[in-house]
């Protein structure tokens, strides 16, 4: 698939799930030994075209996630390039132990793609939301975790992941009409965060679809005389320690994620920061360890403080609090 303005716009319109489906189709044309496994989610993952075009590279195991991971590992042990996908809670929590044993412990290389992560399916309730997945996968050695910010990053991350040295977990967030962060091609490397905006007062470290909200928030903060650096930490593990070392030179670190503030990006940044001397405070924004009432995506983002306005408010409050101390 060419990386051009038209395709970038299509990927934005269709959302990261369907973009993944399109990207997987292109990869199947390029890699003979690619196999995609799903749990009865072909349409939801944009894989209908893939299924029809490459039936021999597509395996649907039915609603059986533990079996899917075992089969994927078996295929990977025989040197296939393997992608698994289903909705994130089932891709991560349901088959967590299979992931630990088959991918972490045995190091069979598989790329897992969790679709509709975070709050995307909030109208279906929290069984279909995922605010724990980064925390779960992070504590399994040997699995890299990537959360692309937009459609183009999803395309680039997928190809990078299937060629990476470890198993990967791709956390896809957002819904259709997913805002564009990257409007043209750029260099993507697993483990290397991307500075989207320079700034000297505070640093916002974020990942996934909320990157867009953070960029908007940083623009609003500029009008409040707060200069923000915005870092797209697309790879949560291995985390980019160098950028955190730089970030602690600013007066406040803010982490923003569509995930529990326990266990995810915020925790990963805090762990790294805690090793450094004389660092500023960290404000961790995300879901505050609760399953609350469900609702539509934008409504839930607002409720959990992940809209640009709420992010601005929280940051300004924190700065005020710091200044008063």
């Amino acid at each position: 698939m060419e990386i051009n303005e038209r395709n970038i716009k299509v990927w934005s319109t269709i959302g990261t799930r369907a973009t993944f489906g399109m990207a997987a189709l292109e990869l199947a044309k390029k890699y003979d030994d690619l196999i995609v496994l799903t749990c009865d989610v072909s349409t939801s993952a944009g894989l209908d075209r893939f299924r029809k075009t490459f039936p021999e590279k597509y395996i649907d195991v039915g609603i059986a996630e533990q079996n899917m991971i075992g089969i994927a590992a078996g295929l990977a042990s025989e040197n296939y390039k393997v992608i698994t996908t289903t909705f994130t809670p089932f891709q991560t929590a349901r088959c967590c132990e299979q992931i630990k044993v088959n991918l972490g412990y045995m190091k069979n290389k598989v790329c897992m793609v969790g679709i509709a992560s975070g709050l995307a399916l909030g109208t279906l309730g929290y069984t279909h939301c995922s605010i724990e997945d980064i925390g779960i996968i992070r504590s399994i050695p040997g699995i890299s975790i990537i959360s692309p910010a937009d459609g183009l990053e999803t395309v680039k991350a997928l190809e990078a992941a299937i060629n990476y040295e470890t198993s990967c977990y791709l956390r896809l967030t957002g819904i259709s009409n997913n805002p564009i962060i990257y409007s043209k091609d750029y260099k993507f490397e697993i483990g290397k965060s991307i500075k989207l905006k320079e700034g000297k007062d505070i640093t916002i470290i974020c990942c996934g679809a909320v990157v867009h909200e953070c960029l908007r928030a940083s623009e609003i903060l500029e009008t409040n005389n707060v200069s923000c650096k915005v870092i797209n930490m697309h790879t949560i593990k291995p985390i980019d320690r160098n950028v955190i070392k730089e970030a602690v030179k600013t007066k406040l670190i803010v982490t923003v994620e569509e995930h529990n503030i326990i266990g995810g990006l915020g925790s990963a940044v805090a762990e790294c920061k805690s090793e450094l001397k004389d660092t500023p405070a960290q404000l961790s924004l995300g879901i505050k360890d609760t399953y609350d009432k469900g609702g539509e995506y934008n409504f839930l983002k607002e409720k959990h403080g992940l809209s640009s306005e709420k992010i601005v408010n929280d940051i300004l409050q924190k700065i005020k609090f710091q200044n008063e101390q």
């Binding site: 195991v61 059986a64 079996n67 075992g70 089969i71 590992a73 042990s77 025989e78 044993v101 190091k107």
Partner: protein, 278 residues
């Protein structure tokens, strides 16, 4: 198969199984107070011996041969039999066997993946081996290599839902090269299957899931040879419910669930070795 040939194989498997039992005892003794899963290793010994000494294709001195038949010990705690069998085919040395459960050993109380030693996967968390077997069997068919895959699961292990996910999938994927051998020794960790979670009619269950299912005596080498000599002609995934005795081969182990995981003392070791030599 000609009678003469069959007798030859019988003799080969019998000798192999005696060595496996001997090495199980040796490793269990060396494990000392760490204990060892003796009962479940002995119940699969004759099955494992038939597979390694007769049925499975593999290359001498080449554990990584792409065309090898694959063996997956889903009931990983029975690994004493697995390690002893791998020693029997020359992939693991007797010296290596002596390192069983020692610090940083390659041979722990559950198999740890080490393909150079012939250990295909790290099994032990129950319910996962059959799914791995499906992935490997699929690969064999896709690459047109047509090697066989043998997965040994425990009867207690069939409590795990993940076993049935795999059981449902294999016939759907038409994996004619996949075998599951259920070690029906009627016991699990803290009691009999009947006491803990009655499995009902296992043969019917596997059959209803679409497997070609056979029930046989897991210690009758003739029955085992007869089955495996014809099994390649069956065009379905194959389930073998093998009726076995936990602790088989030694009078004081047999059907004694205390030997699920226990310490083998020197005196009991001597007693067992004597029985083996009779």
């Amino acid at each position: 198969m000609q009678e003469e040939k069959k007798l030859e194989y019988l003799d080969k498997i019998k000798k192999f199984s005696v060595n496996v039992r001997k090495n199980i005892l040796k490793m269990a003794l060396s494990a000392g107070s760490s204990s060892a899963h003796i009962g479940g290793a002995l119940s699969i010994t004759d099955i494992v011996s038939t597979l390694f000494a007769y049925k499975m294709n593999f290359e001498k001195n080449n554990p990584l041969d792409e065309n090898r038949d694959r063996f997956i010990l889903s009931k990983g705690h029975a690994c004493l039999a697995y390690y002893a069998a791998l020693c029997g085919i020359g992939y693991i040395s007797e010296e290596e066997l002596n390192t069983f459960e020692k610090n940083e050993s390659n041979l722990l109380g559950h198999p740890v993946i080490n393909k150079e030693l012939g250990i295909e996967f790290s099994n032990g968390s129950l319910g996962m081996g059959l799914s791995l077997g499906i992935g490997v069997a699929l690969s064999s068919l896709k690459k047109k290599k047509n090697f066989n895959v043998f997965v040994v699961v425990g009867d207690g292990e069939c409590n795990e839902g993940s076993v049935w996910e795999a059981a449902m999938a294999a016939p759907n994927f038409k994996l004619n090269n996949l075998h599951v051998i259920i070690d029906r020794n009627n016991f699990q960790q803290t009691g009999s299957n009947k006491e803990i979670m009655d499995l009902g009619n296992l043969k019917d269950k596997w059959k209803s899931f679409g497997w070609d299912t056979t029930e046989l005596d897991g210690h009758n080498l003739t029955d085992l040879i007869n089955y495996f000599s014809e099994s390649d002609t069956i065009n379905k995934p194959k389930a073998i419910v093998a009726n076995t005795i936990k602790g088989k081969g030694f009078s004081f182990f047999e059907n004694n669930n205390n030997w699920h995981h226990a310490v083998l003392t020197k005196s009991l070791y001597e007693k067992a070795i004597n029985e083996l030599q009779e």
